[in-house]
């Protein structure tokens, strides 16, 4: 071909400032900023210690686990409102199963896993094959799961089982070498099973999204479902599996939450689905689909955990300020997303074609 042009070389700068990453940078930047903001006044009362940092994860692991599945769902352009209810149902199944019926907690967890993943797959199937909007489908799923919770019991049930106690209290302390001996650092900092599950799921999430065909299909569906279909991608199967995977994440979130509070209550985790969506969105996942990174979600979770921590350190503020701050944060990020999308549209400009005559 004679009119061969050389393709515009992508400079490092354009690659780094790719709007897809800007949101992730913004999240990381804001996290550091707020961390610094807390470190200056509260540094001397322990805000900058490793303990405070690890507590971020210990206290928010169940959000994080759920946010991993949610990120995938959002990238496909969907949404899942049932995660809080499914996690709560998981807690109820474990609590009622072990405490009231005397079944081994592992069996209860297995059963919860089947229920949660099954519901996820079913919702995915309804969304894709019956063409019901995800919002409606998962809202129904939420009512269903919440309803079953209340059907099981309307009281809070404590979980008393040695295995649960062992799992809940199992911790890895951070150690340091002092006078030739390994001792716990002071103030003691630890991670527990919940944090480990979170990070394992995070790695699985990153692997699935970035290194597998399944992950590419998720992005493709979010970019353009119609195109994905015409390119012969298994759109239906992918969507069903994504909701199934999110069901799995909800159940794991429910298990970790049960370990965290050691009880099940039919009204626990109400509104958690919105917190989870917030984590993902703050982390740079576009609600319109097609864009999102697990690493962003990780920072989204940390950022969301940081605000209550700050309020605790302040000591004078009501915890409701946490909600307000989170709300403002979400608003800020959604605005940034719109601006980023708008400016990149403008930067690319529309292809102008000359007059055909």
């Amino acid at each position: 071909m004679s009119n061969l042009q050389t393709a515009p070389r992508q400079s490092l700068w354009t690659r780094v400032t790719n709007p897809k990453f800007i949101m992730v940078y913004a999240t990381i930047g804001l996290f550091l900023l707020i961390y610094l903001f807390g470190a200056i006044p509260y540094g001397d009362v322990g805000f900058t210690t490793l303990r405070t940092f690890t507590t971020l994860f210990v206290d928010n692991a169940y959000y994080g686990i759920s946010a991993i599945g949610m990120t995938m769902v959002l990238i496909t352009g969907g949404i899942d409102l049932s995660v809080g209810a499914v996690a709560s149902l998981t807690g109820m199944l474990i609590a009622y199963g072990t405490t009231v019926m005397g079944i081994h907690p592992l069996i209860c967890m297995g059963f919860a896993l089947i229920v949660g993943v099954g519901l996820g797959l079913l919702m995915g199937w309804v969304i894709h094959y019956l063409n019901v909007p995800p919002f409606i489908t998962t809202l129904t799923g939420m009512f269903l799961a919440r309803g079953v919770c209340s059907l099981i019991s309307r009281e809070s049930i404590e979980i008393n089982h040695p295995l649960i106690d062992d799992l809940a209290s199992w911790k890895i302390y951070f150690m340091q070498l002092k006078d030739g001996e390994w001792v716990k650092i002071k103030p003691s900092a630890y991670i527990n099973l919940n944090v480990i599950i979170f990070f394992v799921m995070l790695l699985i999430g990153i692997y699935l999204l970035q290194r597998t065909r399944f992950g590419r299909n998720i992005y493709a569906i979010g970019g353009s479902e119609q195109s994905a279909k015409l390119m012969g991608l298994p759109v239906g199967r992918t969507k069903v599996l994504v909701y199934g995977f999110n069901g799995l994440c909800s159940v794991l979130a429910g298990i970790t939450y049960a370990l965290y509070v050691k009880s099940g209550w039919n009204l626990s985790l109400q509104g958690a689905e919105l917190d989870v969506i917030t984590c993902a969105v703050i982390g740079g996942t576009l609600l319109t689909g097609g864009v999102g990174y697990m690493i962003g979600t990780l920072f989204g979770v940390m950022l969301k955990g940081l605000i209550p921590a700050l309020i605790t350190f302040n000591g004078n503020l009501l915890s409701w300020w946490g909600k307000i701050a989170t709300g403002l944060l979400l608003l800020l990020f959604i605005c940034i997303q719109r601006i980023v999308v708008k400016t990149t549209d403008r930067r690319k400009g529309k292809k102008r074609a000359p007059v055909k005559s």
Partner: protein, 502 residues
């Protein structure tokens, strides 16, 4: 079945509720040829393509594809791909958020793992081989439309396709990009790929095609070698009539000079998207904005209608100063606007033809004064007949009509409000020659017989020369000239656009 045929379709039937979309259509594609599939909107081109690609299932007939023993059974796009039929659609059907390489390989790799390096290497090879100016790691949305189109073709070619279907691939490309695309098409042809080329641009057909198959009303008109079918005859075959119509139009085109009262006048009008400009139109006048795409034509008329945020200027309607900052106010002042992008700004695809037609009328009346059902039906009926809108019934969703007919529905919507001044922005884009003529005629008829003032915008200069008595030429968002009378020639328009002396 001929020896060199890669694809043979015989006696294809397809029935849709209410219409026979295809009636015993034959089609043959030979190895290494570019075969244009021509026909007006609704002639059955799209249906034939969709049968071939497995989007629709045929009701009767047979398809043979080289390399497949016996008849080919195509039930899904996947089946079509597997036997070597690949399609590149008008709208880019790739994912803008993935890279070029990902778009080329997604959905056709083995195993669950993604091997980035390998795909990027292979993609680079293919892109170099075909001379496509894109980089494997580039995000697709950062490529121009032409390059995106070519990436789609590269994806198709790499799947070892024997039959490549290009459905209106050039409609959003500029001349240079079209040339690039044609270069690629010729290259593929020489490699033995059979290409089915569907387009509305007649010149383009003659530039690259070897053969033409013409369809009309779901039936085969014939298959011709390009040398045997002059352009004029092709148009006649597509329309099923002589070209007298074209001559008719020239006569109807006795455009009368604007003498009546000034119906609309703007002074220093500007909006968030357009620069300040002066403009006026007389009663019964047809004028037009011309200029390259992006020169501000559409933006200017959008400012007149208040479709963008108006930022300044004075507007007089019939000598009275009025404020128009919202479409609703423009409608109240007797202005109608048919937007450029009918899919985005115009039709409401899920509503019926009737509902779409009465929409503007209802807005004018206010929502607290509902129209009776029989009244709505009467209006809809009147305009379906008047504009000969091809639809199964009034209640058919507009989305299922062909592009030209959708355009007529929107036109009907505005005519029903009896505006004094109607703005038509690219009313003929993406529709076939016959309907284009009908719309041009209608424009002149409205101006001549009903004394309506009309602003007409089109990318085809000939079309504007035929209909407008005054052309306002824009360049880089400014009005750079106004042409009337003897100045209305293609050469003069081009010169003014290009910026030569008047």
């Amino acid at each position: 079945m001929q020896n060199d045929a890669v694809l043979t379709m015989r006696g294809i039937d397809k029935q849709f509720p209410g219409t026979k979309a295809l009636n015993k259509v034959d089609f043959t594609l030979r190895k290494g040829e570019i075969h244009a599939l021509m026909g007006e909107n609704g002639a059955g081109k799209s249906t034939l393509i969709k049968v071939l690609t497995g989007v629709h299932e045929k009701d009767g007939g047979s398809i043979w594809v080289e390399g497949v023993d016996g008849e080919a059974h195509i039930h899904s796009p996947q089946d079509a791909q597997n036997i070597g039929i690949a399609t590149v659609y008008q709208e880019i059907t790739l994912c803008p958020n993935l890279t070029v390489a990902e778009n080329m390989f997604i959905g056709r790799t083995q195993g669950q793992r993604v091997h980035w390096k390998e795909y990027e290497k292979r993609a680079t090879e293919i892109l170099d081989n075909l001379g496509i100016p894109a980089r494997a790691k580039q995000e697709l949305s950062s490529c121009s439309l032409a390059v995106q189109q070519m990436v789609a073709i590269a994806r198709a070619v790499d799947m070892n396709c024997k039959v490549l279907i290009l459905d209106e691939p050039t409609s959003s490309l500029d001349d240079k990009e079209v040339e690039m695309l044609f270069g690629l098409m010729r290259d593929l042809k020489n490699r033995g790929v059979g290409i089915i080329f569907v387009t509305h641009f007649l010149e383009q057909v003659y530039e690259v095609s070897d053969r033409i198959t013409v369809l009309r009303n779901g039936e085969l008109v014939g298959e011709f070698a390009i040398e045997d079918l002059p352009q004029v005859e092709l148009v006649a075959k597509m329309m099923g009539k002589d070209l007298n119509d074209l001559a008719d139009l020239e006569q109807v085109g006795a455009k009368h000079e604007a003498t009546g009262e000034v119906i609309y006048e703007a002074e220093n009008l500007s909006s968030s998207e357009s620069r300040a400009f002066d403009f006026n139109i007389h009663k019964g006048e047809v004028n037009g904005f011309t200029g390259l795409l992006g020169s501000g034509r559409s933006e200017s008329v959008r400012a007149i209608f208040g479709a963008d945020r108006v930022t300044g200027g004075k507007v007089k309607v019939k000598g009275q100063e009025v404020k128009i900052s919202k479409p609703h106010e423009a409608m109240k002042a007797g202005i109608g606007y048919l937007p450029e992008d009918r899919k985005k700004d115009g039709i409401i695809a899920d509503l019926s033809v009737r509902e779409n037609i009465i929409l503007a009328m209802q807005v004018m009346k206010g929502f607290f004064h509902p129209m009776s059902r029989s009244q709505m039906e009467a209006f809809a009926d009147e305009y379906i007949k008047a504009l000969s809108i091809k639809t199964a019934s009034q209640e058919t969703p507009v989305g299922s009509l062909s592009g030209g007919n959708q355009q007529k529905v929107i036109l009907a919507r505005w005519l029903l409000t009896h505006p004094d001044y109607l703005i038509l922005d690219e009313p003929t884009r993406g529709i076939d020659v016959g309907t284009k003529l009908e719309i041009q005629k209608l424009v002149l008829k409205l101006a001549n017989e009903e004394n309506m003032s009309i602003t007409f915008i089109s990318s085809e200069i000939e079309e504007m020369l035929r209909t407008c008595s005054r052309l306002i030429v824009m360049r880089d968002r400014n009005i750079v000239g106004e042409l009337t009378g003897d100045q209305l020639t293609q050469a003069q328009v081009m010169k003014t656009i290009a910026g030569g002396e008047q």
